[in-house]
Symmetry: C2
Subunit: 346 residues, 2 copies
């Protein structure tokens, strides 16, 4: 009975805008106006500030969201948080922080069921925007989400046909440059450890590989195509197959960090020296690639600029809630970092 009154330390409900209004002797509207940065009478402002202090008032974003339909939360659907996604997340988080928002993250580990679950969760949570790598299986559901008014931004992998913003890197161009580099060094038997071709980034990296070979008059040889499925295990399996070929490749282009690591591991276990026995170039750079002996020549995505671009796109989209144009696409260039893992053939 007296419980509720006596126990005022642990379960006391937080002060509301109403409490503040009462304590400050003003109307709730006035407090609300103050909180939202509108001009109010000076005397009132001081009263309100004092009341907020004494009551320890914190405005409830959830109640505010009911009216404004804005949660100040941005969803991020990502497969994992490896080197690339970790770095990306860090910069992204810091970038949208400046707009008063934060990231609500869902990690799906390439499981389609979890992706759908994530979409449901995000829909329920009424996030302001969604950042995700496209996945064909999700077309209908993402379409619905977009249709319901949720701004979506794709990165890494496209989901074509949907009205959304997009931030990508020039996968094809960069891959071509990487393979060009190998050709420049005299390599002709160049293998690719490819990501999933259903992913646009996987497909484009393969196309870049193809471009380079075509342009330099080197015939595309299917036996030098090894699927690595983006994973470390896939990378080592791929190298395993490549090594037993009659004419094994003299150089490898690996389409991602985990696959590169797998490849290096397999090479090492089989006593193949990089770059003496075989050259390798990796798409995506890792801090330790520089320290590895030899240093791993790699394509570096401009992670910071990707994050900045994502933040900018979202900021601008959310600043004009009514517009719904066809969506913009940003394409960022990558750098190639020359280190020791690729050397002249022979």
């Amino acid at each position: 009975m007296t419980e509720e009154l006596s126990d005022n330390s642990s379960k006391r409900r937080p002060a509301t805008i109403l409490d503040v209004a009462r304590t400050a002797n003003v109307a709730v509207g006035t407090v609300s106006r103050y909180l939202n940065g509108f001009k109010i009478r000076r005397a009132n402002r001081e009263q309100i500030e004092m009341a907020i202090q004494t009551l320890n008032y914190t405005r409830s974003a959830v109640a505010a969201a009911m009216k404004s339909d804005l949660t100040h939360v941005v969803g991020l659907l990502a497969p994992a948080f490896d080197e690339f996604h970790g770095a990306m997340l860090q910069h992204l988080s810091q970038a949208i922080r400046r707009d008063g928002r934060a990231l609500l993250i869902y990690c799906h580990g390439a499981d389609a069921r979890i992706m759908e679950e994530a979409l449901d969760y995000f829909a329920t949570q009424r996030i302001d925007a969604l950042i995700m790598a496209g996945a064909e299986e999700l077309y209908d559901r993402v379409d619905k989400l977009i249709d319901s008014g949720l701004p979506v931004v794709f990165y890494n992998n496209d989901l074509k046909g949907l009205t959304a913003d997009r931030v990508f890197v020039e996968n094809r161009k960069a891959s071509r440059r990487a393979v060009d580099h190998l050709i420049d060094l005299g390599h002709k038997r160049i293998a690719i450890i490819s990501g999933d071709l259903e992913h646009t980034s996987g497909a484009e990296r393969y196309l870049g590989y193809q471009d380079a070979l075509n342009e330099r008059g080197i015939a595309l040889d299917p036996k030098y195509f090894a699927k690595g499925s983006w994973t470390m295990l896939g990378g080592s399996d791929a190298v395993e197959k490549l090594m037993v070929l009659d004419e094994p490749p003299t150089a490898i282009f690996s389409a991602s960090i985990p696959m590169t690591i797998g490849a290096l591991k397999c090479l090492k276990e089989n006593g193949r020296k990089v770059p003496d026995d075989i050259s390798i170039v990796s798409f995506d750079d890792a801090p330790l690639f520089n320290l590895h002996e030899p240093g791993i020549t790699a394509i570096a995505q401009p992670i910071e600029r990707i994050a900045e671009s994502l933040a900018t796109v979202i900021r601008e989209r959310l600043a004009q809630p009514d517009e719904r144009p066809s969506g913009r696409t940003i394409n960022l260039d990558c750098d190639i970092i020359l280190r020791g893992s690729a050397r002249p053939v022979g």
Copy 2:
């Protein structure tokens, strides 16, 4: 004027529980009960399910949160998303997903101002629980948060004196084992590249270093203490100082991955071979440490179990909202992974 009616594709407001009730010819209460998994009449259930389908209804977590005071969102305040935090985040995210929750993340980059900003943001968002590494500067504010009823879980660094749950690893014991290993190999001039001693994890790792030396009768020599401040740059600076000593160390214990990388980089640039010229052991393991030549002997934190423990602690705490006991502490053991970077002295 007719705008609102004609434009029913882009701006149509989402269906509410009320719409569902109307379409299904039942009362809102019934729909609510259905949504929350209570038993209702079969015919009604079918009507409701159909209505939800046709109306494309998605329950609003924000409205629900107003009543229940539960947002199903857990805050995570982290300094960065490097190897350790990235892996941790991934497992944590997947673990709490099973409880229907997701992580709202704020990245502070060791900036106290941003940490406070994060706390404010989290308070406003009415998260269900907060996971964070302790930081002395935040004592008062976190205290207030806890006092207001927010369950807090500390990891990595403690913030002593607060009533909260805690999930840590045995930093001291593991560090001692690492240094023991070096002593076993005959090293006597063993340096530590230390993290920040204000952080409990930094302090404990130092204590473990000290324990090992003490127990084996090796005098603690202040010139072998080098502060690395957790960063890569700090790591290389520390090694720089160590190398110009009259009697440089024959072995180094580095208290974190970035510092280890910095140390290796500096060693390499100065032509010092690991382990021929100097041995090194790292606290925290990285995937590429295995590939490095030589492999880096490292202490591996049980990241998955940390994540699981955090998830469990939160699950249980949230299952008993009324209890407010003194908080439990979980201490997890680390593994030491022997590779080639430490070898007998001489």
